[in-house]
Each structure stands twice: as C-alpha cells, then as structure tokens.
Symmetry: C2
Subunit: 337 residues, 2 copies
C-alpha cells in the first residue's frame, strides 16, 4: 500500500508535469487569445496591455507584487451609463412618486412638488440642498437591509427610457473585459464611486465581479439599534461621507489602506483619485473614459451636470493619462442582450 509519503511524492511529480504542460498551452495560446475583444486596436488598448505586462513580469524593474496590484474604478460614466441623469437620481425620483400617496403635503412642497410635476427646471432651482433632501427622504429612515431590498427591487424592474433595458445591463462591455483582464493578472479591483455605497453593493458582485467589501462610495450615517431584540443598522438622514473629488483618495485610504497603481475614471470627480494613484514612484496607470459617441451612447464633456469633464482632461495631458475616445476605441458599448 502507498504511504502518505509516497502519495505526496507522486502528487508533487505529477503536479510538476501538469504545470509544464499548462505553461506550454498558455505560451502557445498567447498570440491568439485577446483578453479585450471589444477594444479596437488603438492606443488605449496597447497602453493597458503594456502596463499590465510590465507590472506582472517578474524580475522587471516595474514588477509589482500581487498584493499591491490595486486598481480603482469610478462607477457612474466609467462602468455604466450616467446620462440623461445618474441612475441613483432616477431611483430617488421614482421613489418620491412611489411614496407620494403617504405624503399629501409634498404636492405643495419643494423639491417634492417639482419631482411630482416632472418640472426639471424647478428641481434644478432647488440646487444641491434640494437634491440632498430628496436623497435623505428616499434613502434614510429604514434599515440597511430594507434599503438594499428597495434598491434591488427597483433595479430589477426599472428600464432606461432610451435603451429600454435594465440599468444593470447598461454597463460598458469593454470595461467588463478590462476588469476581468486585470483580475486574471492578479489585480484586486475596487469600485470608488461618488454614488451611494449601498446602492451599488447589492449588484456589484454579479455584474462586475466586485464583492461588497471592495466597494467604496458615499454614505449616510447608520446607527446600531436593537429593535424588538433584533440587532439592526438604521439609516439616519445625515451625511457620513462624500466619496467624490478630494473625498476619493480619502475613501480609498480608509477602505483599502494601500495606494492603488491603476485608476479609471471619466469626470472631474475622479481628478484627485487619478492624481493620488499616478503621482507616485513606480509603474502607474491612469485612464479617462471620454464620452464621444452620441449615436451609440452619449457625447458630453464640459457642459453637463452629470459627469462634467474639464479639469481632469487638462490634467490627463499633463500626467500622460490614457484617454479613451469611446467612439474610436470601443467596438461595442454594451453587452449583447
């Protein structure tokens, strides 16, 4: 009979053989397999591949050990559509309409009246303060579990008015491929969103392959409360953290505790995240998705309230960040239905 020692030796020998064969397969396939099939063979794709190859090549001057291969992604406008308005705002407006029957006073009260009347001009006039009031009314006053269920239920049924598809299908196919490609090369991928952390977490794992513990975002304060002997986390109408602009490096540090080596964004809200990631020693990569495709998606930069791109574009030139021209660089925008 085999002893454990014999089995071990046998296993080790066989494992070595398999490793050699797998290496041969990988090498042979190297020239044909394209990890980024929805990207055209233009400069951004070449820049991404060159970066990944140099940081993963052991012995090279730019080699980065696996635990330090942290990549951060903005969400709105970088991984999924943010026009004609942020999806979370569409959610908040829908929630106001759903909740309105229990709030007759909203008929005469701004900013709720504007939402119920579909009066976008009056809503804009309510400004940031009005927006914050809408968010607090629709996002607080319940437990976290309750909120996540409301958000998930809405995402399961709501449809984007232009594309007639669920919002979670309006994610960018090239970016999904990029997320996978980075992970296959030992990167840990994080979302760093200006949007609400609990709005993204219920679906980030299924859609992006990013688990909840790798989502950083804005948040309102929660309180631990025993309700009828059951521990709950109750959402209170108070801002906890705004994960946007100068907040992004702060959120990254608090959640990740390491400096990323690659950052992907699309707007001025991502400027400081890109600076924090790339303006440091060692191999670094910054990328901006530029919305240039009015036909297949949207075209906007300086003149939009959702995803304004101005200062970050100037900084891209200075810092040699890669700028993706959606129209020219992406073969396909959304996943097949």
């Amino acid at each position: 009979m085999f002893t454990i020692h014999d089995l071990r030796r046998l296993a080790r020998g066989a494992a070595f053989g398999v490793a050699a064969v797998l290496l041969a397969v990988t090498a042979a396939e190297g020239q044909t397999a394209d990890p980024l099939p929805s990207w055209n063979d233009t400069a951004p794709k070449a820049a991404i591949v060159a970066f990944v190859e140099k940081v993963t090549k052991e012995g090279s001057a730019d080699f980065v050990p696996e635990p330090e291969r942290i990549a951060v992604f903005d969400n709105d406008g970088t991984l999924w559509v943010e026009h004609p308005m942020y999806t979370q705002l569409a959610f908040a407006l829908d929630r106001v309409k759903t909740m309105a029957p229990s709030h007759p006073e909203w008929k005469d009260m701004q900013p709720f009246k504007a939402v119920l009347d579909g009066d976008m001009k009056a809503l804009a006039a309510a400004g940031e303060k009005g927006l914050l009031e809408l968010i607090m009314t629709t996002h607080a006053g319940m437990t976290n579990e309750e909120f996540q269920k409301i958000a998930s239920d809405w995402l399961a049924t709501a449809r984007d008015p232009r594309f007639k598809r669920p919002y979670t299908e309006l994610v960018y196919q090239p970016m999904l491929e990029l997320l996978s490609y980075l992970r296959e090369n030992g990167f840990k991928t994080f979302i760093v969103s200006g949007g609400g952390i609990e709005f993204v977490r219920p679906w980030s794992e299924k859609i992006y392959g990013i688990p909840p513990e790798q989502v950083v975002g804005s948040s309102i304060k929660t309180q631990f409360v025993m309700r009828d002997g059951v521990p709950t986390l109750f959402r209170t109408p108070e801002v906890n953290f705004i994960d946007d602009k100068v907040g992004k490096p702060v959120g990254i540090n608090e959640h990740i505790g390491r400096r990323p080596i690659a950052a992907f964004g699309n707007s001025d809200g991502d400027l400081e995240m890109l600076q924090w990631t790339t303006m440091a020693p060692g191999a670094r990569f910054g990328l901006i998705v530029r919305h240039t495709d009015a036909e297949r998606e949207y075209a906007y930069d300086k003149d939009t309230p959702f995803g304004r791109l101005d200062k970050a574009l100037d900084a891209a030139a200075v810092n040699q960040w890669t700028v993706v021209d959606m129209k020219a660089d992406w073969k396909q925008i959304f996943p097949e239905k």
Copy 2:
C-alpha cells in the same frame, strides 16, 4: 507535433490524476493533522472545529458559500496583549516623551505634564478628554505615510516591560492558528479594532496574514492636499470614526458590506459586534477570549480600564457564545521566540 488541443487534453487528464492523489493525501492525513495544535482538547476547540466543518460541508443545511464566510476579530486583548495598557497608548506616551524637547510648555500643561512625570494618577484624572488630546497631539499633524513610519519604527524597537519582547511578538499563538485555519477553509479574515486603523495596518499582513484592506478601526480625519505638487493625505486632529461598541457593527457594514458569520472578541467593546454577527439566521459563531492566566499572561475582567469584560460575558451565556478560558484552553500563549 502536439497541437494546443492535444496539450489541453493532456493537461486536463494529468490535472485530474493530481487532484485524485491530493485528495487521497488529504484524506489520509485528515486524522493526524491538527490545525489548532496550541489549543487543548477542551470545549472551545471542539466548538470551533464543529462550526467550520458544518459551514464548509457542501450540501449540508448549514453550508455557507465561500464569499460569505466572513470572520471578524477584535485586536487588543483578542489577538495581542492589551495589559498593562493598550499598546497604542504606550506608543502615545512614548511619543510625548520623544516630542517633549520641542514643547517646553508641556512641563506645566496637563495631560502632558502627567506623562512626563510618569504620574499615572494625574493622567487618569485627565479622563477621556485628556487621552484624546494625547492621541491627537501624537497621531495628527503629519501625512499618513509619515505616521505609519513613526508607528512602525516604534514597534520595531519598543519592548514590552514585562515580557521583554517586541509588542508584535505578544500575539496569541492559538489565535494565529485559528486565523490560518479559517482562511484554509475559505474564510476571509478581518480585524475590527477599537484602536487606530493606521496603527495596525503597517504590520497586520506580516503578523496576522491580514492585508490593510481587511483592517477596520478607529480613525481621525484625513485631508487630500497637494504639497509642492505632490498629493498627500494629511492627518487632522479631528475624530472621524470610533470603531468600538455600537461603532463596530457600523464599521463592519461600511467596510465589509456583508454580515460576518463568525466574530471573536474579548471585552464589552465587542458586545455589539458579537450580537450583530450571531443574532441572525443561519450558522453563526461567537467567541470571547477570557483572560484567566495571571502567570502566563494576565487575569482580568470587570475591574480594568483596558478590556473590561462584564456585559459581554453575561451575553455570552444568553447567546451561547464560546468562552475561552486562556489558562485551561490554551497550551501556549505566545509564539516561540
């Protein structure tokens, strides 16, 4: 010559053979290998093993998929020594002494005078407010990188007065084994410390195998600032988050976004974390380390300012949490020198 297809088939066949052999080795070793050699064969060890076996057994009613196997560990008093005072407090007191030459005014100013005079009674009289002042003075006013270097340098040279060893060697060997055992069984292990997040992160990976992104802790506010064109995160003397008591479930939710299925603590500061983890459907595990070994470590519970254990011990009985009696249940306290 072999085609890729042939190589693939060969690899698959060989891999299958290796898997079978490895399974045989594992099965044969199952009865002899002890994943928790520093634990006596008393109730706590049996409870840990029974829990891990049932949540990892596919097809069993208690099976938990790998991504949901989240385990959270308090640090002070659960993973390393917290007496005669929290290590971070010893660090702060040492820092005050190091910084004193540049602060002649401290000679007549509490709570600094108390520290410089070694007058623990006066220090206690300064209360929480005094303590907070010491922490802010020694932990803020620098960048995060600078702080981490100061903390790391201190930990590299400071020695515990009783055991004459670096503080990072005064970690509990049985808990190190438990961390590894859980990870080998597909758990993701997190630290959830009342102490400062940036005080733990520089060494958590090396000592505990827990990377910085899996450390949750108390924090002060940081600001993103461009200093001479270099992006920095500057530590300001303002509390950001207290990760203790009711704060622990809040911190867990913010950082992890999933409810843990196992929690390990030692004091009343861990009560809510244990409640949040265990008072929910499905298989759950709560454990309290009780300091009962004055000879090999310390013995304390209700009457200590550092790691007071009172309410959480009562709750352990009600909630059927496992209570470790250090003296009876642990063969060894610290790793070998």
